[in-house]
Point group: C2
Chain length 493, copies 2
């Protein structure tokens, strides 16, 4: 019998095939495509995205979703149905005219931003951003009305289902109560350390070889993925073929190496999503926050730990040989250096939350209509002063114009970075308790047990559970900021 659920299953399988093609073409655009291919590629991707939207929001899909709730489904099928309904709701809510207008305004704003940011041209940028904010508010209003929640919560739900501004206010409020003081203490403490920049150049092919060796150590499956170069590191592709990237600078190798470790965390999550469910929504990674928890577990919890850095130091020497400044203590110090700065993407793990909280507070007020675009610079400067003690007055380039996220209306995304950092701390400490040998394992470079634990507790579940449920199953409780505090204190104090 053809059930409504089986029709949905076939439809989402079909959609996942189109997603596969846009993932490959998108990856290619960032890594391989010569400049003149750009227009045709964008048009091809837009055409596919229109098709995807049409298939997903066809009236039949709505009917099947309703009928399927009456059908006899097992647990996993019910989770799958819930995720199908979520995708349908998110897409079907918006009139095509709004989707198109937002996409155009976003493309225009982002395009101009690439010139305006280096020119510190806030006025020019604000003109375009106003349109993006207007359309994002319209989007948020439609989503909010349908879901019976606030406007900003409706956007948060796109990236971190179930998360709300109220919860975030609590979580970030707690961080704000102890993090600034801790940061100051650590900065003071590190004054005593003599950080030495290892002597370059570090040839790009050797940096690449180091990255590949570290990926091997981290269990990356090279039969189902690749490492390439792009302007901004990312993890793309599809679960069967995960494409990560990094960028190289001959003067130093740590940034590229840590980029690889971070993206490998994302990649292993993707490579270990439930195989037999691939193509169905339940097999997707749970959320942006959980995705970031895996990359930050790899990069920060594991990657920047003393034991891990010691364990990979021979791989570093293997590529670059003995050099001035390339001793293991300095290597660890450089990776654990705390240095508040203006730029989020360069921030250490102690400063990073301040960057995110600042953005969260501004974008939340912006979407709720409490502030306007012209209020951003003053708020940015005052919060930067308050949270990190840095002056950004008049510096838009490295202030409120530094990120790409707002240019195309990605409001609600920023919080997932710090949620990810906190989930990562909670998961890693739980894994440490569950695996008594873990610290020794790390020193020996044998991460099998850790990866087994992550697979059993996170990777293999895809979107089967809500984030809260996933964290409860894995750690016995929902998000608890104590783990993050404990991690930072034990590493940096």
């Amino acid at each position: 019998m053809t059930t409504a659920y089986s029709q949905l299953r076939a439809t989402f399988t079909r959609l996942s095939r189109f997603t596969h093609l846009s993932a490959v073409a998108g990856w290619d655009m960032q890594t391989m495509m010569p400049p003149e291919g750009s227009k045709a590629r964008s048009e091809a991707l837009a055409e596919l995205s229109v098709l995807h939207h049409q298939i997903l929001t066809a009236p039949k899909v709505g009917e099947w979703l309703e009928q399927a709730t009456q059908e006899d489904l097992n647990d996993l099928e019910q989770s799958n149905l819930r995720e199908m309904a979520r995708q349908y709701r998110h897409s079907a809510l918006l009139p095509e005219s709004l989707v198109e207008a937002k996409s155009l305004a976003g493309a225009r704003c982002e395009h101009a931003w690439r010139r305006q940011r280096p020119a510190n041209d806030w006025e020019g940028f604000a003109d375009n951003l106003r349109e993006v904010v207007k359309l994002s508010r319209q989007e948020a209003t439609l989503r909010a009305e349908a879901a019976g929640i606030s406007r900003y919560d409706a956007l948060l739900d796109l990236y971190e289902p179930g998360m709300t501004a109220q919860k975030l206010d609590g979580i970030f409020g707690e961080l704000k109560s102890w993090l600034p003081q801790l940061l100051q203490t650590v900065v003071e403490k590190q004054r005593a350390i003599d950080f030495v920049q290892p002597h370059g150049p570090f040839a790009i092919d050797k940096q690449k070889a180091l990255g590949l060796n570290v990926m091997k150590r981290l269990g990356f499956n090279f039969d189902a993925g690749r490492l390439d170069i792009s302007a901004h590191p990312f993890c793309g592709g599809v679960p069967q073929d995960v494409r990560i990237t990094t960028r190289y600078n001959e003067n130093e190798f740590i940034t590229a190496m840590m980029g690889v470790i971070h993206e490998t965390g994302h990649a292993r999550y993707e490579q270990n999503l439930p195989k037999e469910w691939l193509g169905q929504p339940v097999a997707h990674a749970r959320s942006m926050g959980v995705h970031e928890s895996q990359s930050l577990l790899f990069e920060m919890q594991l990657g920047c730990s003393e034991r891990f850095l010691k364990s990979i130091f021979p791989l570093v020497i293997e590529q670059f040989g003995e050099r001035e400044g390339l001793d293991v203590t300095n290597f660890i110090n450089l990776n654990q250096r705390v240095q508040p700065g203006l730029i989020r993407v360069d921030a250490d793990e102690l400063s990073y939350p301040a960057h995110v909280i600042l953005r969260y507070e501004i974008e939340q007020a912006l979407i709720e209509g409490e502030i306007e675009v012209e209020d951003i610079p003053a708020l940015w400067s005052s919060k930067m002063q308050q949270y990190l003690g840095l002056d950004t007055v008049g510096n838009y380039t490295n202030g409120c114009m530094q990120d790409i996220h707002w240019t195309d209306g990605g409001f609600g995304y920023f919080p997932t970075y710090t949620l990810g950092a906190m989930y990562a701390a909670q998961l890693f400490q739980t894994a440490n308790k569950a695996i008594p040998t873990l610290q020794d394992d790390i020193s020996r470079g044998d991460l099998t047990a850790l990866f087994q634990w992550l697979n059993q507790n996170i990777w293999q579940h895809g979107s089967r559970f809500s984030t809260d449920q996933l964290m409860k199953n894995a750690t016995g409780e929902t998000l608890n900021t104590d783990y993050f505090r404990k991690h930072l204190e034990s590493r940096y104090l």
Copy 2:
């Protein structure tokens, strides 16, 4: 007013965007994709191909095509309409069940062939090939009935519109009347030459650098294309972003270099198709034969000429330095060596037509039902003996199982190789007359005038004219085998 023609235009623009995505994903599959990505990629491409077929063969398209013939269209629009109708006819003719059955049988046959060929397993291969032939005959019958032409002609028309077995019999008959004797004479003559294999190894990065430099010399636009590596060289991508490939062997560099020159000929055709018409059928390359004429003009007419080889010899030395066997005379000799052998893809330009004629005669009889699969080996051996004086009895691996073309039913394609070689000779000799300085230009490495001539006479016209008309406009006459004979005699006698 929305005309039927404008509806068609929009539909074909949309189709070209999907073709763009399958071109990128197809290129990636051959050059970048790790093995575990294969299944999902094939499924995604198949899904897109089903979609493409559905859009192209929708009843509306048929109606619009009929209505548009009554609309007021200019010359180019009429050519575009003719090409649209051609695509529609080719796709709409076949029932989906036959398309699917042929695609499955082809995939099965090709897959098994990869094992069977090295194992010299003709019996195993023949079992699968029988099914492919059966379905190809069904396809040919449907196409033939609709067009009122013979079965094999209907397949020829897919690759070389307007070509017929009757014309081919004439053309190939002529070649057969003088080529075997010429070949023998040249082989005799070359006995006097001492061919020396230049001393390797030839590092792959240096071979690549040489290839890139030669591509620059040949006017390849690197802002709209790339060079990569694949098991079999090809030219893929889209006109705005042309992807060519070659393969490297450290022991010798000439094969990879000549592969690059050949594919650059295809690439420049693609890169110079009429820009303002891209996305429409009239902007496609005219035919497989004309496409091959461009690659062979680059590789054989230009690339293997004494003047050109002399002009790029410094680029060779720049990469590899002075070495044993690497002098300019020997470099020219190696590129003009005539050595009949069993393998088509390794054949020199004098032996190549024999390989093609042999295949043409067999596949034509096979499709017309005059012979059966089991007759192939004996025919192959007798023709190989007759045309090239070589014995292939019992050697299926390097005999009738050497090519991939028949495995998935690509009957009708082989003749385009030799048609391309003959078009190339005709075009190049005409260009030589039109550009009095051409031979000196080649020696100086300045190919501007040649490329201008090709652009004016071939590239920019896309599919505006029939092949016969295109050749007439460019050279004053339709295909004439005298040019090819003259070329071979002047180079080799």
